[in-house]
Structure formats: C-alpha cells, structure tokens
C-alpha cells in the first residue's frame, strides 16, 4: 500500500504501467491525523488511483455511507474508476469482523486494495488490547488472502485511517503503540497551517518504518474538486526518528516542518501562505 500512496502523493506518476510498478503495493499503511486533516479525501484519492491501475476492484470500508464524494483530482473521478470501488458500511465492530472473516466465501475477483476509514470508531467499541490487535491482524490477514487470490506477482494493498486526538502532553494514543506492531508504515496528516484545513491545504508525512528519511508532501484541494500535490523538499539528513515525539499527532509533525523553515512550497500551490509558527 505504501507504494500506491507514494505514487498518488508523487502526482500520480503511474504512467509507467509495467508489471513491476503495479505488482507490489508495499506494506500496509496507517493513515493518522486529527479530525479534518484530509484522511478520507486522501484515502479516496488512493482508491481511485488503484482502481485506475486496472489490477482489480477496490474495497472501501467505512462505518457510515459517505454523504458526498470526497474531494479528489478531477481526472481521477472518471465513472469507470468509481465503478471499481466497492463501498461497504459495516455498522459495528462485530459486523466488520464478520465481513473480514467471510471474504473468502464471496465469489468474484479479489480486490487489489482494501481500505478502512474510521478505525477509531470500531476500536472505541472494544478498547481492549487483544480486541484491537485482533482487528488489526484480521485486516492484515484479509489483505494477505486477497494477495494470495490475485496470484504470484501481485498483491493487495491495505490502508487504514485512524483519527488521532491531539494530545497536549505529547503522550501516545494508547492504541497507537499496539497498531504500530501491525502497521509499521505510517502516514501523518495535518492541515498545512492553522485554519488552512478548511481551505483544503494539508501536509502528509510518510514513514515507512525502515531507516531512512521520511517523505513529505503538501496537498491542496481546490473548490472545484481539483487536487494538487507537491513534494515537500526534504533535508539531506532527516532528524532521527524519535518514537515518542513522532506519535504525538499533529504536534511533532510541525516540529519536523519547523526544521525546514524558510522553504516555500513548489508551484501549484499558489495562494497558499507558508507559515511556520511554533506550536504550543
């Protein structure tokens, strides 16, 4: 999944549709951010991107039917792509588990991407560690089963969105440590700056869980549905991953951004003022 996400965030350079680019979707990704940080929109954009790659249907699970289609790039919202995204709305954790545990009973082509939006709502029902681990593990197992069905050189990606609370003291959300065991790759989202969330400007930071620099992007949703993504220039030497601070929701992402002060976003984000203000 991390590779598909990276392609979306790299401006959808999936023009090269050779076997090697579509075969591996990479490790499962946990999308993290506070309310309104663009998670659903990004998940939807990723779903359409994967649907467009033509390797199979996409399964999008969320608790409530989407009231309207999330913002996305205009080109991606072609009817053919939308048709390939199957939405299902398990209303409770039990029904979500039943859905995941019984996917092998359903005939038809296996999805190439499985997305779950709003994991926090399902976890809230059963906050115990074993229950949370079981849900995470069953998600991984379902994606693994789809990969098995897809065949030898293809795999099913997995992307899960979890709303995080902004913790004043920087403490880890209690379940996040547990989820990291199953989702080593994480993508943190936050509004580019205070107030810009309403205008649809967001920052995404992808950590693969392996040593190496993080990749960051800025993306902006325009009122007409257009979405522009630009890579955020990364430092040659990134700050060393600090588990404690990197789990503190939006706060530490800002501190990472603070290290890159003085830079302005690239073209395509006109009208967006880049503000670096220290966060409390």
């Amino acid at each position: 999944m991390a590779e598909t996400l990276r392609r979306v965030l790299s401006g959808g350079n999936a023009a090269g549709t050779g076997e090697d680019t579509t075969a591996e979707s990479g490790p499962p990704v946990l999308l993290l951010g506070a309310q309104g940080s663009g998670k659903t929109s990004l998940m939807f954009a990723t779903a359409l991107e994967a649907a467009g790659e033509g390797c199979g249907p996409v399964l999008f699970l969320t608790r409530r039917p989407l009231q309207r289609l999330p913002r996305s790039t205009r080109a991606a919202r072609e009817p053919l792509r939308l048709q390939k995204v199957r939405f299902q709305y398990p209303p409770s954790t039990l029904e979500l588990l039943q859905l995941l545990a019984s996917t092998h009973e359903v005939p038809g082509p296996a999805p190439c991407l499985l997305l779950l939006d709003g994991l926090e709502e399902y976890l809230a029902e059963d906050p115990g560690t074993q229950e949370a681990a079981y849900l995470a593990a069953l998600l991984l197992d379902t994606a693994a089963y789809f990969s098995h069905r897809l065949g030898s050189n293809r795999s099913c990606g997995l992307m899960v969105a979890l709303e995080t609370q902004v913790e004043a003291d920087g403490a880890d959300a209690p379940q996040l440590t547990l989820l990291q065991r199953y989702f080593p790759a994480k993508c943190w989202l936050q509004p580019e700056a205070p107030g810009l969330g309403q205008q649809g400007c967001f920052r995404a930071c992808l950590e693969l869980g392996t040593p190496g620099p993080r990749a960051e992007w800025t993306f902006k949703f325009f009122p007409d549905g257009e979405m522009k993504i630009t890579p955020w220039p990364t430092q040659p030497t990134s700050p060393s991953p600090d588990k404690k601070s990197s789990s503190a929701g939006g706060q530490s992402l800002t501190s990472v951004c603070d290290n890159v002060s003085g830079q302005f976003p690239g073209p395509g984000t006109a009208g967006q003022v880049h503000m670096q203000r220290p966060k409390e």
């Binding site: 995941l100 092998h104 009973e105 079981y134 593990a137 197992d141 693994a144 089963y145 098995h148 547990l178």
Partner: protein
C-alpha cells in the same frame, strides 16, 4: 565400525551427523532467544499439536492444541494468537516476541510436520471469528 560401508552410505551418515549437530545448535539458539517458550514450543511440535486448516477458497488459519487441552487460533499471515499469554506478554508488556503457540507454528513450518485439515469456507469463517465451538 570396522566394516567399510559403501561410499554413498558413508556420505549420507556424515550428512545426517552434521544435521544433528546443526539441529542441536539451532535448538540451543532457539532456547537462547526465546527462553522457556522454546522448550514448550518444541514440545508442542513433537506432540503434533499444530494444525493448518484450509478451505476450498485457499484461505488458511492455524490452530494449536495447547498443553492445557484448550485450542488456540493463530492467524497464518501475521502475529496473532488467541491465547492469554499473547495478549499479556507480547502485546501488553512487550516482553516476548511470540507466544509459544506462534513459535511452535514457525518451527513446524520449517520442519514441515504440522497436521492438515480441510474444512468448508463457512467453517473457516467461524474459526477466524474465534467462535466457541464444541470441542471434538
């Protein structure tokens, strides 16, 4: 032995001796890394307690008959076991990498000696959902 054996048999015996030495070394390493869980896991393997359950769909799951007689369900694709030790030592306290059941599964995969069981797709769903079922 004084009697000379055919060369091919000599070679075979020598390979087997090396394998036994390697196996002793591997077991030693296993105990070093996993402690007492290693011994319990090896015991589970010896007693053929691990079953790989699959259905016509191709989906699979493991079940391990624990030493207490209880059956635990373990996922095949990632680390999850329904036993209390997994929830406590692995998840909560982060003391251990694996519980003995998961370790036993890995060992039996290497040694290729777990039991196989075929069930229907519907039954596999029930197993994955960890439903309480009548013990056989």
């Amino acid at each position: 032995m004084a009697v000379a054996l055919p060369e091919v048999v000599e070679e075979l015996l020598s390979e087997m001796a090396a394998a036994v030495r390697d196996s002793a070394r591997s077991t030693g390493l296993l105990k070093f890394v996993f402690g007492s869980s290693a011994i319990q896991a090896l015991d589970l393997v010896d007693r053929q307690s691990i079953t790989l359950i699959s259905s016509p769909s191709g989906r699979r799951v493991y079940q391990v008959l624990g030493s207490s007689g209880k059956t635990y369900t373990c996922l095949a694709s990632c680390h999850y076991c329904s036993c209390p030790a997994f929830a406590f030592s692995v998840l909560r306290k982060n003391d251990s990498l694996l519980c003995k059941h998961l370790l036993a599964i890995y060992i039996s995969q290497v040694m290729r000696n777990c039991q196989q069981l075929s069930v229907s797709d519907k039954q596999l769903t029930d197993i994955l959902l960890m439903k309480k079922k009548l013990e056989a």
